[in-house]
Amino acid sequence: MTLSVHEVRAGYVPDADILNSLSITVEPGEIVTILGPNGSGKSTLLKTVVGQLRPRAGRVVADGRDLAGIPVHRRIRDCGVAYVPQLDNIFGPLTIRENLELGGQFVAPAARRARLEQLLEHYPNLGRKAGARADSLSGGERQMLALARALMPGPRHLLLDEPSAGLSPLMMDELFAHIRRIRDREGVSVLMVEQNAAESLEVSDRAYVLVMGRVHREGTAREILEDETVGQLYLGTGPVH
């Protein structure tokens, strides 16, 4: 139940690698945060894991299975890899219920209905508005909807791209606490990209810092939180030279 990326090189145009021999590992049930400046390749890493981008070298392995050659739409179904993209991650014109259904298309109908009701109970805010259009939700509720939808098929690995982007500090704390609850309840491992370093590290087990498509620093969440260069880069707490 491990998700790992081995020495991966990937990019959008020929000869320009955005990821340079990048390796990361997410152990079962772990929450791992990816930090890094804008353009360092964080989203690119997640796109490579879900298969939207094909690695030029290296391997992506989930639960012992090499994902090369498995098309994007089979990765959730066959490999339990769920992905919540950074932008446009809900379908506004549809209702909340319909959005959730879109996430569980290939689950058997009875199981899907049961799962949907269960998730609506876990997310009372969504449950109350199950018939409303998704674009009537607030920013925080939208993230919750995207998360809940990713959970529909019962994934083993959850990839989240900046789940706290644009949320108020209060909502942000709630969201991170929620991510932790999901991990505890569902037993999924979580790989999330974040800009809000301090808050996300608070709920994480481990973290990587990406710079220019390479792992610049890695360690437990505590180590990274106390790391001076990371502090300088993200937290505004490190010593200024």
């Binding site: 994007v72 993209p85 446009d88 009537s136």
Partner: protein
């Protein structure tokens, strides 16, 4: 005059079916099919060839639909790895290919002369009675097609199609096989377009390669865009409007004594102007897509 009106209504119903088909592909699924007339043409020729061989129309029509569905399937498979814009160009090329086959394979298609002398619909009736019966059949089939398209839009498949149109990356990440969806919607759209083509052949008792010019695809697109992409009723309204205009201009020519070589250009000009006007005044088309009714706030 009555016969002219009936003719316009019958043609509206036939092209309405073709427009509903295109609307399903392009409006709901976001697939820029610029070869719609090929699917129409495959159905039209299949029905012509089969009725010429002695098959009665109630059997030839479904066979024509099946042939066109197969054509749609092939077009969908063909460019499955192409980006949307390149696929759109490929469909245009496929349509020209189909027309060239119709033009050159004389043994099968009658070549430039096309296939005429087909035993049409309701051979036992004459004149107005026959036109009325044809209109009833065409209208019924249009209604059936439109209801089916609308129903399809409301199913999970329809929602996946719309997600595929708006956000294909999200659709695949959620586990939807968008290539399979694309092929499926083209096959369904193909069957519908084939039905329209078959009816066209049976009604006019003729089909020829000139009916498969790219301009015809443009006309069907015009109907859909005028009516409002994504809305079934819009496609029907658009088809009526364009067909009436298209058939009405020669009529106008007689009334004001225009030279007949002008009518062709006048048609294109009139249709182009109307499209421009509608798009400027109502960019969503006359009957815009309604994804969800306004009372959607109910829990």
């Amino acid at each position: 005059m009555l016969e002219f009106c009936l003719h316009v209504l019958i043609m509206s119903a036939i092209f309405g079916i073709a427009a509903v088909s295109l609307n399903l592909q392009a409006g709901t699924g976001g697939l820029l099919n610029f070869g719609q007339i090929a699917l129409f043409g495959i159905g039209a020729y299949a029905v012509a060839i089969l009725t010429r061989a002695g098959l009665p129309w109630p059997a030839a029509l479904p066979a024509g639909m099946a042939a066109a569905a197969l054509g749609g399937f092939a077009i969908g498979r063909l460019g499955r790895d192409l980006a949307a814009e390149y696929w759109a160009l490929a469909t245009l090329a496929v349509a020209e290919l189909v027309r060239l086959v119709a033009l050159n394979e004389d043994w099968l298609t009658g070549g430039p002369q096309g296939i005429g002398g087909i035993v049409g619909l309701f051979p036992g009736l004459d004149g107005v009675a026959r036109a009325l019966a044809t209109l009833a059949l065409a209208a019924l089939l249009l209604l059936g097609t439109a209801l089916m398209a609308r129903r399809l839009g409301q199913t999970q498949f329809g929602r996946v199609l719309r997600l595929m149109r708006e956000n294909p990356d999200l659709a695949t990440a959620l586990g939807h096989d968008i290539v399979a969806c694309k092929v499926k919607v083209l096959a369904i759209g193909g069957a519908m377009a084939g039905l329209a083509g078959g009816l066209y052949t049976l009604y006019l008792a003729f089909i020829g390669p000139d009916q498969l010019l790219p301009f015809e695809t443009f006309l069907i697109w015009t109907m859909v865009v005028l009516g409002g992409l994504g809305n079934v009723a819009g496609a029907v309204v658009g088809a009526m409007l364009v067909t009436t205009l298209y058939a009405g201009i020669p009529f106008l020519k007689d009334a004001v004594a225009l030279p007949s070589d002008l009518t062709g250009s006048l048609r294109v000009f009139a249709i182009g102007s109307i499209v421009l006007a509608v798009l400027m005044l109502k960019p969503q088309g006359l009957v815009p897509e309604r994804l969800r009714r306004l009372h959607a706030q109910r829990p």
